[in-house]
């Protein structure tokens, strides 16, 4: 398969424009999910209807394909009179689904902090919020960074699915170029490389963060 260098030279600037949208989507999704996932995880930890609802939410979003969720958000919301843009719909769907995954990551992190840490905090007179903020969450965060980074990588790859709802991210740009040039190999090669670069940035960033946050344990 000969690589068409001239073609790639024309392709790359276009792909990079798409990559910008991809990065925006991925970064926003991660930022929102880091918070939203925690909310869901804490909600799930409570008893009663809230915990039940959080659990149901997690199961539903995790066990259905993202593409279909995206469709429902994009076209469904529009039917009921809330026409979010493609970007916003994609972001919402990505956050909904990955919020479920991130919540599970937090749950694992919370469970990995031993009950004795809670007791030690309570014995010092800490109330729930102080206990969580200064004792539990810092430990949870240090522990969830590697799985969160993995999730970040899969979010980055998942953004390719918003192509289906007319967002001009890298995959959509690629599709348009494939359509016009019939040169699937070169386009997908370039796309693969760009994703690889993006995801490596996350891996490296996570490793740095992990080292920063690591307390000697």
């Amino acid at each position: 398969m000969p690589i068409d260098v001239h073609f790639l030279a024309r392709l790359f600037p276009a792909l990079l424009e798409g990559a910008e949208v991809t990065v925006e989507l991925a970064v926003l999704t991660m930022a929102i999910c880091v918070v939203w996932g925690l909310v869901v995880a804490l909600g799930q930890a409570t008893r009663g209807p809230l915990g039940w609802a959080a659990g149901a939410y997690i199961q539903i979003v995790r066990n259905t394909p993202l593409l279909i969720q995206m469709y429902i958000v994009y076209f469904g919301l529009s039917l009921v009179g809330v026409p979010l843009s493609g970007f916003a719909s994609g972001l919402l769907a990505l956050c909904l689904q990955n919020g479920g995954y991130v919540a599970e990551i937090y749950r694992g992190g919370l469970q990995s902090v031993s009950a004795r840490q809670y007791e030690a905090g309570r014995a010092l007179g800490m109330r729930r919020w102080t206990l969580y903020r200064s004792v539990i969450l810092p430990q949870v965060i240090a522990r969830v960074i590697p799985p969160l980074a993995n999730q970040g990588i899969s979010i980055t790859k998942d953004t390719s699915q918003v192509a289906a709802i007319a967002v001009m991210e890298i995959m959509k740009v690629a599709q348009v170029w494939v359509e016009s040039s019939a040169n699937t190999y070169d386009v997908f090669l370039a796309v693969g490389l760009i994703y690889l670069v993006l995801t490596s940035v996350i891996s490296v960033g996570a490793r740095v963060a992990e080292r920063q946050l690591a307390f000697v344990s």
């Binding site: 004795r116 030690a120 010092l124 007179g125 810092p138």
Partner: protein, 272 residues
């Protein structure tokens, strides 16, 4: 009790520092405490001994409501902790914030140190004073350094717990509890997880504390500590207090068979 020391309090006060009465605690059908009552006077050091499973740990955990209990009340320095009696004579659980406040008065040190691994030694000690009691950071840090000096760990202020030996970690845990200026300190087998070589340093810190007039309940298997430091030894078995008294009397001439047996087995094991 050294009346001149900084922590010295009025030992002659009629009101006990800790007053537990009729504590009953069940785990399911298993009645682990069967109506335990215990008064500890100001500045007194009570050592609790007894066979495994007799309820010693549970008793300590009930004092500051780490375990909930089904009957009985606890008061520290005259003020109820956990439950109050309402007008109808019914036990009423206090609000969480009141319980949290009451816990500040009670320091507890566990067998497994339980330091916060993500904080340095100093941060471990100042966290609660600053966040719970609102003490300004400089003042809290000064106090923390004093306490570290007292337990002989001044130079470890900025180390993380994982870098310390077990004995050092346990001394930090003691300093952390003391930083809240508790009225009473509870120790649950704080040397059991330590290498024999390291036990001494922790016991020394506790002995110093007792000498300074802190009110203490110490659960331990270290009989020599009981002998040298305790004002009173309490022997628990099967969820009740079987016998109590001054260490000399109890070790020399136990009144009950159960204690005699227990001590004999101990002597057999540790006599060279």
């Amino acid at each position: 009790m050294n009346a001149e020391s900084s922590l010295a309090t009025d030992v002659t006060s009629p009101r006990p520092m800790l007053d537990m009465s009729g504590i009953v605690k069940r785990f399911g059908a298993n009645e682990v405490l069967r109506g335990v009552s215990l008064q500890v006077a100001r500045g007194e050091t009570v050592v609790v001994i007894g066979p495994s499973g007799s309820g010693k740990t549970t008793l300590l955990r009930c004092v500051n409501l780490l375990e909930d209990y089904q009957q009985g009340t606890v008061a520290v320095d005259g003020e109820p902790v956990g439950y109050v009696m309402d007008r109808g004579g019914q036990r009423q659980r206090m609000a969480e914030r009141e319980i949290a406040a009451a816990r500040e008065k009670i320091g507890i040190v566990f067998q497994s140190y339980n330091l916060f691994p993500h904080m340095t030694v100093l941060q471990n000690i100042v966290a609660a004073p600053i966040r719970v009691r609102g003490i300004p950071r400089p003042k809290a840090e000064q106090r923390a350094r004093d306490l570290l000096a007292m337990v002989g760990l001044s130079e470890k202020a900025d180390a993380y717990p994982a870098r310390l030996s077990g004995g050092q970690q346990q001394r930090v845990a003691i300093a952390r509890a003391l930083a809240m200026d508790p009225k009473i300190m509870l120790f649950d087998e704080v040397t059991s997880a330590l290498d024999p070589e390291l036990v001494g340093e922790v016991l020394a810190a506790m002995q110093q504390l007792a000498r300074d007039g802190m009110t203490m309940i110490v659960v331990t298997h270290e009989m020599s500590f009981a002998r040298d430091v305790a004002d009173r030894v309490v022997f628990m078995d099967g969820g009740v207090i079987v016998e109590q008294g001054a260490p000399e009397e109890m070790f020399a001439s136990p009144r009950t068979d159960r204690v005699r047996q227990f001590l004999k087995r101990y002597n057999d094991r540790y006599r060279i």
